[in-house]
Symmetry: C3
Subunit: 291 residues, 3 copies
Amino acid sequence: MRNLLSMEHLTNDEIMLILERAAGFEAGEISNLPRSYNVANLFFEPSTRTKTSFEMAERKIGCTVIPFDAGFSSALKGETMYDTVKTLEMIGMDAVVIRAKEDEYYNELLEGINVAVINAGDGAGQHPSQSLLDLYTIYKEFGSFEGLNVTIVGDISHSRVAKSNATSLKKLGVNVRFLCPPEWAGNFEAHHSWDELLEDSDVVMLLRIQHERHVINKSFSKESYHEQYGLTFEREARMKEGAIIMHPAPVNRDVEIVSELVECERSRIFDQVRNGVFVRMAILETILKER
Amino acid sequence: MRNLLSMEHLTNDEIMLILERAAGFEAGEISNLPRSYNVANLFFEPSTRTKTSFEMAERKIGCTVIPFDAGFSSALKGETMYDTVKTLEMIGMDAVVIRAKEDEYYNELLEGINVAVINAGDGAGQHPSQSLLDLYTIYKEFGSFEGLNVTIVGDISHSRVAKSNATSLKKLGVNVRFLCPPEWAGNFEAHHSWDELLEDSDVVMLLRIQHERHVINKSFSKESYHEQYGLTFEREARMKEGAIIMHPAPVNRDVEIVSELVECERSRIFDQVRNGVFVRMAILETILKER
Amino acid sequence: MRNLLSMEHLTNDEIMLILERAAGFEAGEISNLPRSYNVANLFFEPSTRTKTSFEMAERKIGCTVIPFDAGFSSALKGETMYDTVKTLEMIGMDAVVIRAKEDEYYNELLEGINVAVINAGDGAGQHPSQSLLDLYTIYKEFGSFEGLNVTIVGDISHSRVAKSNATSLKKLGVNVRFLCPPEWAGNFEAHHSWDELLEDSDVVMLLRIQHERHVINKSFSKESYHEQYGLTFEREARMKEGAIIMHPAPVNRDVEIVSELVECERSRIFDQVRNGVFVRMAILETILKER
């Protein structure tokens, strides 16, 4: 694996190798990379968990992390993504982790760039390391994917998590269902009521309502979203035994889910964060060891 | 010691242990922590000396410091302090150092959080690591606290340094006096003239006039503050032998103190900065070794 | 060498020692510094390549790099450069690398400061590490400086690269010529047409058109600049055998140079970036080993 740009590029075998390696790291295995690699994290959008998780994963596999302040870089002077990444390559990076506002920003990096590129989120496109940590969380819970019912709830059309996960879960044999207001379905075939989905879901995967993308407006309040699509106490009680709740976070408490349920027994929301470090160690090691 | 949130939580014995350990570090002792701990510094307000001092102290005791850009984090998306800190805990932090605008922001971290929390300043509340370095500076100078006269000068009511120091200096037997314009006294009993305080002060502790909190206005200029409450050449000359000048910095030169006196013989202003690193090493080691 | 502030302070011998040491590092030599030094990078203006290059160079010679966020520091509270740098000295820095908006900001650091200061760009003043990497790039190419024709093209009067390079190239025996619109010549004697300069140039050194300094306006468009002063296919074809193209970057593609020529055979634009790391390792080692 040379880069990680989109879940669509990964075979099931490649996915499973990363999940198994993440499990190894969680069990205490250490990295077998032959040397220390240089990595920079280019985050052009605010992020706490993804950036910090990569920072930790990089150090745990022995990388040297070179700070890059995207909000104070030459990108402000209009430098192209190609020129920024090529510059970092010449400075000696082995890999760059990038989050950017533009969908598929990485297309301009496919030719002429020798540094490895790991996509940490592209606009409303993909978010493959989040998808892999979601898959790892499900895999740890159920031991396999075949035949599971996973319900993804929220702004499907704008969510890179929804897109990345839908792609890969289906390939792995999961029965993926979407639940959202009609105007947020985009090209996906979606349900608009919990009733058909709640009792047989093995995983309820809530998506963040992105205020910053202005998807909630006067005609559709937080309260009415919560009432129709939020995970309430009443709905949680109806979930089947062993079913789990996931959310990529940050959570809007009392919007996507009742605040008190964020750390309930079914919730894997903070476990996902913990799993993310092991998964990112596996991603980085897989890519760096081929260099 | 599990956290460091407020000087009010520390006994005199705990304070003295930290000061003795800081003295050990200054004398060249090295940390005896059993492993490398992961730490993140969350500074939601601008800071040079406190943040940089912690960054240095953390490295000197062998910590791995994971960068956290507060101005570009999910806090911008409205994430609660609890969720931010819990996320960092799941990513693998052992301790977080936090400066935030809200008084006692740490109250929401008292339950459910397992990572150690070190308060590096909460609004107009406390600033315990600054207080401990001030105590260390006095302790190095005089060898004890009992019976010293310490005069704290400035915006007492809004200063976290004044509050933290008043609490702990009194507990240690110091005679603490306040000097400020009547409107800045808050709940403290304060003097309004240097005359009763100058000649017998062992320590004159100047506070920063916080322009950014808008405490100086048209009716009260920098010049008139300097004239009435600033440390002028004339006042410095009247200070008793062996008395010292302190200031948490950054200094407004020619407001709290004449610029030329900032590095005069009596001044410990830059020594305080140096002492801060040893004190923060002691704080971090004390907290981390209990984990 | 105690500091690196301006190319005007360096003798030819000092320059050559740095270039030779850079060549050593490029050939795989490692640093012979006796210990790990503490360094902070204070960038008060946006930068990708200079800051990242220093960050890499510092790590490669074994420094501990203490993060400093200039956009979130006490400088925002009006702290002087002297007080900021003195504070970092007391915290334990051995050297600080500074980029600032003010010309010759370093004059206030000449007395009372014991930490080494490396100027990474002062306003419209100097940029000595860039100049040294440019010299190294030329030296690698031609083996010597004597008698070379170097043509510097662009906004000569505002460019710190032009100033730093003009100073040192002339001292080294280079025949330096300037090409720019008449209004950008400042105090330099400049040509205003490529015709006299193109065929005998060994080095064409393009400068960045600084939109952020508003030097292009309605009466002088990007297109007309490119037409009159840009490096077009036609001009590149007329350059003599072995002649090279340089640019400090970031490049405005299709303004200073046709986009497709940025990585042409003659171009050393990305090599310059790579060379910068070796040169900065040499600068840092030279300064730190005298401490």
